[in-house]
């Protein structure tokens, strides 16, 4: 015989109320767990992928769309910019670095990005195997691409036209995999990187003669340019200079991210409030359950006092009951929340977008646990106090 056995026996007497209180609390914890993990990981990834990029230059359109397509590779581009714009920006003394990004094809949903090795250096990625490309039609694949497609150094791949699966396959222009990147936790993990000239070669085909070749070369474009400023003053001047060009648009990742979070924030806040309301109502249900249990079990409590249980021990037994319910609900809610994160993570992985994993720890989860246990203590406080003040003789006489 021990306190836990007594508490479990008491709980078994009221299975319906017990399960209801646990389910309510578990749902609240699950909702908060889901919001905390998904929001935390998405925020971190968005910030990490944009780190060090001061400006994105692309065709005129939606700035947010430009950021999402050129930086995060989750949206369609706004259009293309002439190659001359890249050269012009590189001559600008206020600009430290310009990294071109050319989109157009994908391999099994992973975007093929024509760029320069500077993009890999920017994210601090290192090769897990092979080497960087030295010629067009060579590619370096991200770790997630390698994991999903099982491609390795020496393998080949043919791009599919467009940014989603299901387009025409460029079988005539296969890429050779020359390098595989180690995991970076950035967008690079989900990209097939190649020289920007590869993208032109795949889409230009073989020119009929030199004249056509010259025309094609003059018309070459890239999708967007990732820009790093040389000085803080550039933030005030370079965007204005870019926007003055009729075909170009400058988008600041920091500003667009702030806008994105403002829009997403409404939904996230709604879910947070929903989860908190669920937790609050479940604790009210827990209080009602414990209070009703106290009424139903007043003779049991009186007899336990008669048998030697002190006031404190009776109160602690009720507290243990409340803590036990909170603990079970916490574990169930955590499991439910992690399962939901895993499902969403799987869905995002299939769409080759962000990586959301149930394995990522968030310190806020600790707070959810602490709040749940503290609230369970609060819910049990009044019933426990009443139980401890019970008049044994009067209660037994009534029974």
């Amino acid at each position: 015989m021990n306190a836990l056995r007594i508490v479990l026996a008491q709980l078994a007497q009221r299975p319906l109320q017990t399960v209801l209180a646990v389910v309510l609390l578990a749902l609240g914890v699950a909702t908060l767990t889901f919001v905390v993990l998904v929001q935390g990981q998405l925020s971190k990834q968005l910030a990490r992928d944009a780190q060090g990029i001061d400006l994105v230059v692309g065709a005129k359109g939606s700035p947010l769309q430009l950021i999402l397509s050129a930086l995060y590779h989750v949206d369609v581009p706004t259009g293309n910019v002439p190659l001359a714009a890249m050269d012009q920006l590189r001559r600008n003394r206020l600009v430290a670095q310009v990294i071109p990004v050319s989109l157009g094809d994908n391999y099994r949903g992973f975007r093929i990005v024509g760029t320069e090795p500077a993009l890999i250096e920017h994210y601090g990625a290192r090769l897990a195997g092979g080497a960087l490309w030295t010629a067009p039609m060579q590619s370096v694949i991200g770790s997630e691409v390698a994991r999903v497609t099982q491609l390795a150094v020496g393998g080949t791949l043919a791009g599919t036209h467009g940014l989603a699966q299901g387009g025409a396959v460029h079988e005539e222009a296969r890429y050779e995999v020359v390098g595989v990147l180690a995991p970076t936790g950035t967008v690079l993990d989900r990209l097939v990187l190649t020289d920007k000239a590869s993208v032109w070669r795949v889409h230009e085909g073989d020119p009929a003669d030199d004249a056509e070749r010259r025309v094609l070369e003059e018309e070459r474009e890239v999708t967007a340019l990732l820009v790093r400023y040389a000085s803080p003053m550039a933030a005030a001047i370079v965007p204005r200079q870019v926007n003055a060009e009729s075909r170009l648009m400058a988008a600041s990742p920091a500003n667009e991210l702030a806008r994105l979070f403002a829009v997403m924030g409404v939904g996230i806040d709604t879910m947070r409030v929903f989860g908190s309301v669920l937790v609050a109502s479940s604790l009210l249900a827990l209080f009602v359950t414990l209070y009703n249990a106290l009424e139903e079990r007043r003779y049991d409590i009186a007899i336990m006092r008669l048998l030697g249980a002190s006031r404190a021990r009776v109160a602690i037994l009720l507290m243990i009951e409340s803590w036990l319910l909170a603990l079970v609900a916490l574990l169930a809610g955590l499991a439910l929340g992690l399962a939901a994160v895993a499902i969403v993570g799987n869905w995002l992985a299939q769409s080759r977008a962000f990586v959301v994993s149930p394995g990522a720890f968030a310190p806020e989860l600790l707070w959810i646990g602490i709040v749940a246990v503290a609230a369970a203590t609060l819910a049990a406080a009044l019933p426990a106090w009443r139980a401890s003040r019970m008049d044994i003789a009067a209660t037994l006489a009534r029974g």
Binding site: M1, A9, D300, M304, L306, L307, G308, R313, A393, L396
Partner: protein, 227 residues
């Protein structure tokens, strides 16, 4: 062993008990008798250590039950076993666990063999795993008695143990209590208004309605042992 001095009790301003001074010895069988409202259950609760009297003192082997030094609940539960009128077995626990609960809460050695020996001695060993709801009234009473004596108390108190029993079963219940008190080596005090069983006790203390007159020790079935 158990002494009662000048005990009276008021409830809501109304006097509900005026008890005679008593001095009860170990092994003695004492019946508290009297009409309804005379305070039998009140006196029993006071003797059980769960109802501080409005006036007077109760002492167990010279140690006061209510005055300083204050006795903790375990001290009381180890020395005084109680069989309440409605038994109040915990419905969620088996017969065996109801008895083990008494050991656990009183802080005595939790020897399950002792519990099983007790169940066997009281004739309910085959019902040890049954919940109270699965036991007959007689079996429930035996389990409640086992619970009251499992800690080998010095005093065994029972409140109206025969109130809902026919003649034959009333006598059996009293036999059982005598046997339980003998096993525990305890003083037995039973509150009863049942005239059928009164004659079986060494000593009967009659309580009168406390309108004014003080209740008094009435008579003894064994005059040589009367107070």
């Amino acid at each position: 062993m158990l002494t009662v001095r000048s005990v009276a009790h008021r409830y809501g301003g109304r006097r509900v008990l005026v008890a005679p001074d008593l001095s009860l010895a170990a092994g003695e069988h004492c019946a508290l008798v009297g009409p309804s409202g005379s305070g039998k259950s009140t006196l029993l609760n006071i003797l059980a250590g769960i109802l501080p009297p409005s006036a007077g003192d109760v002492a167990l082997q010279g140690e006061p039950l209510y005055t300083a030094p204050a006795r903790d609940d375990r001290w009381r539960a180890r020395r005084i076993g109680v069989v309440p009128q409605r038994l109040h077995l915990l419905a969620s626990l088996s017969a065996r666990d109801n008895i083990r609960l008494a050991q656990y809460l009183a802080g005595t050695h939790a020897d399950i063999r002792e519990v099983d020996r007790l169940l066997a001695a009281l004739g309910v060993e085959d019902r040890a795993s049954a919940r109270p709801g699965e036991l007959s009234a007689g079996e429930q009473q035996r389990v409640a008695i086992a619970r009251a004596i499992v800690n080998r108390p010095q005093v065994l108190l029972a409140d109206e143990p025969t109130s809902s029993l026919d003649d034959a079963n009333a006598q059996k219940a009293i036999d059982l209590l005598f046997e339980a008190a003998r096993m525990a080596g305890a003083l037995l005090v039973v509150a009863t208004h049942d005239g059928r069983v009164r004659a079986r006790f060494d000593r009967a203390v009659e309580l009168l309605e406390p309108a004014g007159e003080r209740a008094r020790p009435l008579r003894s079935a064994h005059p040589e042992r009367a107070a």
